[in-house]
Symmetry: C2
């Protein structure tokens, strides 16, 4: 089996839309996803999954109910621990890489028009 690589810019060129993550790699029961974000997302939490956000471009605020907002710029990452309610807010357009367990749903415990399941995997 050949080992394929993923070029992040080329992967982003394969899809449009916001808040619609695509899978680019899977390892050890975790997935690496790419997404474009713009504006506000919904408040949610993930009961059993920690979630890593790495900002590739743009400025992403992560709001919390009970602690200070974390603002991520290009080349910055943060881990949102399981169970912590958060609301991502993208200032302008953000290109994001996520690293999280394979079963993680983008809206966590909430089901909403923005919930995405059965994500596409980019080849």
């Amino acid at each position: 089996m050949e080992i394929s690589k993923v070029n992040i810019d080329a992967a982003f060129a394969k899809f449009d839309g916001y808040w619609d993550p695509k899978i680019v790699a899977e390892l050890n029961g975790q997935m690496v996803k790419l997404a474009r974000l713009s504006g506000e997302f919904i408040w949610h939490s993930h009961a059993k999954e920690d979630e890593l956000f790495l900002v590739l471009d743009g400025v992403l605020e992560i709001h919390f109910r009970d602690r200070d907002t974390v603002t991520l710029c290009q080349g910055e990452l943060a881990v949102i621990p399981r169970g912590v309610e958060h609301k991502p807010v993208a200032r302008g357009q953000v290109r994001l890489m996520l690293f999280e367990p394979s079963g993680t749903i983008n809206t966590g415990e909430i089901v909403d028009s923005r919930t995405r399941t059965n994500l596409d995997r980019l080849e």
Copy 2:
């Protein structure tokens, strides 16, 4: 508990040396590590861990015994499946991000002068 962010450039400014990965985040039993690479590493494999390499700067070749070399440039990633013997070769200096299970040792099943255990965690 505040949620802290990691600025990748600032994290690299905190350490020197090559082939000496530092931990910048941990989630879901996985670690995110940063390392500088230069020149050839040793042939090795990881029996139980898939390993993700994301090149932040530079050009990294990943050689295999039985399949084509994968060359990663800036903004490119690849997953090395568990059990697959590989040898990283950095052309010039490479800045690398790794995602892998927390117990992963840099030289896999080999113990050698380059083996690193008890990695520092950058705060």
